[in-house]
């Protein structure tokens, strides 16, 4: 199967086919700032989007790939970008490299470049909060997304698994039958952000269902941020993940520190040169990736390896060799330990 890197992105919808930017009238006055109708009868604003993202055929290279764009196209995620390869944002599913680059840049913007907020919205919808790294989505409105079609719980779970596993590496999926909702946890937060936009207001019907033709009459999925899992086992898992993450960070911080102390006389300004320019080309090597804060997947063995290397560094620090002191590293620039392999 060809990867998205080998082809240019497709135009998902022709511009002429795009719907009017003014939504159907549901109120008396139109607010041009929020692009919403207000006053009068609120009516039901839930709908099924006529567009859907098809990850495999739609993704490809865009202008954004050449310009080192960090952010993804929101319209692409919704399946309605009319620019295709001329789009200045990225048109593919966020992968490991993208996540690394995003994490280097900031944690306050989501993968579409939208600002997050301090607190979640009351209904847990929207862009989300920068205070909590949330990788879990709540999937509701399943009944409406199936137009009331009766399915067994395992069938619903399979459908959810199918659509979401195309949108990024899955950590775990759980379908709660009693509440008719599901929780999808991704490996990376960026994938959760992407999946949230991609699957909101989508139908769960398949073209083989007889209800497929009437899918627009349903209400579409409700995809929101999940609250923290109250299950004590899950909380323990979370704590352990956090601990591992901070331990990784320890190693990284100390590595940086070793570099800066070895390269004596390097002042603050030069030391902080970010390597954003370097990372895109050279796909960050695996050891380094393991040390990035966003990775929870560190294996304890590798961690030990890092520790060993760190010890070596320590020795070097006592009698700094020329080659070592020449290395001027920013916080995320390759540090010697990863070069020594």
């Amino acid at each position: 199967m060809k990867s998205w890197k080998d082809r240019s992105a497709k135009v998902q919808v022709k511009e002429s086919e795009l719907p009017s930017s003014i939504p159907a009238q549901t109120g008396l006055t139109f607010n041009i700032w929020y692009s919403k109708w207000s006053q009068g009868f609120a009516g039901n604003t839930r709908f099924v989007s006529p567009f859907a993202l098809q990850p495999q055929p739609h993704s490809g290279r865009t202008r954004g790939d050449n310009d080192d764009q960090l952010f993804f196209c929101l319209f692409f995620a919704k399946g309605m970008c009319c620019l295709g390869s001329k789009c200045q944002y990225l048109h593919h599913i966020p992968n490991e490299d993208d996540v690394d680059k995003l994490a280097l840049r900031t944690e306050v913007l989501d993968c579409f470049g939208r600002e997050k907020f301090a607190d979640y919205r009351e209904d847990m919808g929207g862009v989300g909060s920068f205070r909590r790294k949330n990788r879990t989505l709540y999937i509701g409105g399943i009944d409406g997304a199936l137009n009331g079609k009766h399915l067994k719980s395992t069938q619903i779970e399979s459908r959810i698994r199918f659509v979401f596993s195309r949108l990024g590496a899955i950590d775990r999926i759980r379908y709660v039958e009693d509440k008719n909702c599901a929780f999808v946890k991704f490996k990376y937060q960026a994938n959760a952000e992407f999946g949230k936009e991609a699957m909101s207001n989508q139908t769960l019907l398949l073209p083989s269902d007889k209800e497929w033709e009437d899918r627009r009459e349903g209400t579409g999925l409700l995809v929101k941020w999940a609250n923290e899992d109250p299950d004590p086992a899950a909380q323990k898992r979370l704590q352990e993940e956090q601990k591992l993450e901070s331990l990784n960070m320890m190693v990284r911080l100390i590595n940086n520190n070793t570099i800066t102390s070895a390269g004596a006389g390097v002042d603050n300004n030069t030391k902080k040169i970010p390597d954003r320019k370097e990372t895109p080309e050279v796909s960050i090597n695996s050891t380094k990736k393991r040390l990035l804060p966003i990775d929870n997947g560190l294996q304890s063995d590798i961690f030990i390896e890092n520790l060993k290397k760190l010890k070596k560094n320590e020795n070097i620090e006592h009698n700094p060799s020329n080659s070592f002191s020449r290395k001027v590293g920013g916080p995320l620039v390759d540090y010697p330990s990863s070069d020594e392999e």
Binding site: M1, V108, F130, S153, A169, M250, I254, P274, P293, S300
Partner: protein, 365 residues
């Protein structure tokens, strides 16, 4: 306003400012609402280069940024370039006290807090160069100690899992009573538990069990795609994986028999059960996932139709695993040593564990 003349320059980290020597920055007094304290503040925005399409804005006010010692744009710690929570967690590990940056809940409190002249949480340390160096030194010594023992960390994790195990057990006992009446024989009948793993099996589907609840699906799929040398299998749909964490087992289906055969041939470890059945072993970190070919195939329903059945299934499988491991003899093939990196030498750890217990304690929060 007088304030604007005396105003300090914005607190923006070098990483946000980029590499250009000159950048053009626009200043808008009272231009935006601070994301943390909701008060208006002087907004600055700029681009890292003229051609860049991303406009970088200050998102929080300078007071809030100084209180937390973070950059106004990326909100990462200005010394270490890491998120606030992570920084606080790190410092609490080192200083063995609970450091958190408390955030006010209601608007009035947010504003009140922002007007106070304090340093919050870990900012007290990272805003001061000597304190921060101090912490780094402490970190170093902790890590070096850990390296010299070498077994500290796995030990620590093992301990945690040992505790977990106990809790699992008590949970299991509870569950056994709770689900004693539940009959899942129809599920068990369909599982290929009486089949044996062999190197020349030719099937697309496999049954995976002994999956710890802490293993995420992507770790399993990563391990498999690494074995098969396929990159990004999920894009190509060359394999589908269903893991039911409640039932602690899962199914694996390859697109073709060839892939399945390749997978089987790459599995280096096997386990013989007392009943003379063989199980393939897929090592993931310190866990071992057992593999059995599943010629009849599976669906999501194979692991139970509801949570009760899932849990009951996990209990039954647990019993099976204990049986299989009870009188076990590991048959390890010759190429074992090459694959050493994925295996944890557990016994060694346990030996060292006793020695280093006191030190290990210091690492635990």
């Amino acid at each position: 306003m007088n304030d604007e003349i005396n105003e300090l320059p914005p607190k923006i980290c070098e990483q946000c400012l980029g590499n250009e020597t000159n950048i053009r920055m626009t200043k808008i007094p009272q231009g935006s609402e601070c994301k943390i304290c909701t008060l208006p503040f002087t907004l600055y925005h700029f681009k890292t280069s003229k051609r860049s399409s991303n406009l970088i804005k200050t998102l929080i006010c300078q007071r809030c940024a100084t209180q937390r010692n973070i950059c106004q744009c990326c909100m990462l710690d200005s010394r270490w370039h890491i998120p606030i929570q992570l920084r606080d967690h790190l410092i609490s590990i080192v200083n063995e006290e609970n450091v958190i940056t408390e955030e006010a809940k209601n608007d009035m409190m947010k504003r009140f807090l922002s007007l106070k002249d304090v340093k919050l949480g870990g900012a007290q340390i990272t805003s001061d160069a000597s304190e921060a160096d101090n912490i780094i030194d402490k970190l170093k010594s902790i890590l070096l100690r850990a390296t010299s023992d070498n077994s500290n960390l796995p030990l620590q994790r093992q301990k945690v899992t040992a505790v977990n195990q106990n809790e699992h057990d008590t949970n299991d006992v509870k569950n056994i009573e709770k689900y004693a009446s539940l009959d899942i024989s129809y599920l068990l009948k369909k599982l290929p538990l009486n089949e044996s793993f062999s190197r020349n099996a030719s099937t697309r589907s496999y049954f995976l069990y002994n999956i710890d609840t802490s293993i995420p699906e992507w770790k399993i799929s990563d391990a498999i795609s690494q074995l098969l040398d396929v990159k990004k299998w999920s894009d190509g749909n060359s394999l589908s994986l269903i893991v039911n964490h409640k039932a602690r087992c899962g199914g694996l289906r390859f697109q073709s028999n060839e892939l399945g055969e390749k997978f089987v041939s790459k599995i280096s470890d096997t386990l013989s059960t007392p009943k003379d059945l063989k199980r393939g072993i897929l090592p993931i970190e310190r866990f071992k996932i057992f593999i059995i070919p599943w010629t009849s195939g599976f669906s999501a329903a194979s692991f139970g139709a509801n949570v009760a059945e899932n849990i009951k299934l996990s209990l039954s499988l647990n019993k099976l695993i204990q049986l299989e491991l009870g009188v076990h003899s590991f048959v390890k093939s010759a190429d074992n040593s090459k694959k050493g990196k994925t295996k944890t030498p557990k016994k060694v750890h346990k030996l060292k564990a006793k020695k280093s217990k006191s030190r290990a304690n210091k690492l635990i929060l």
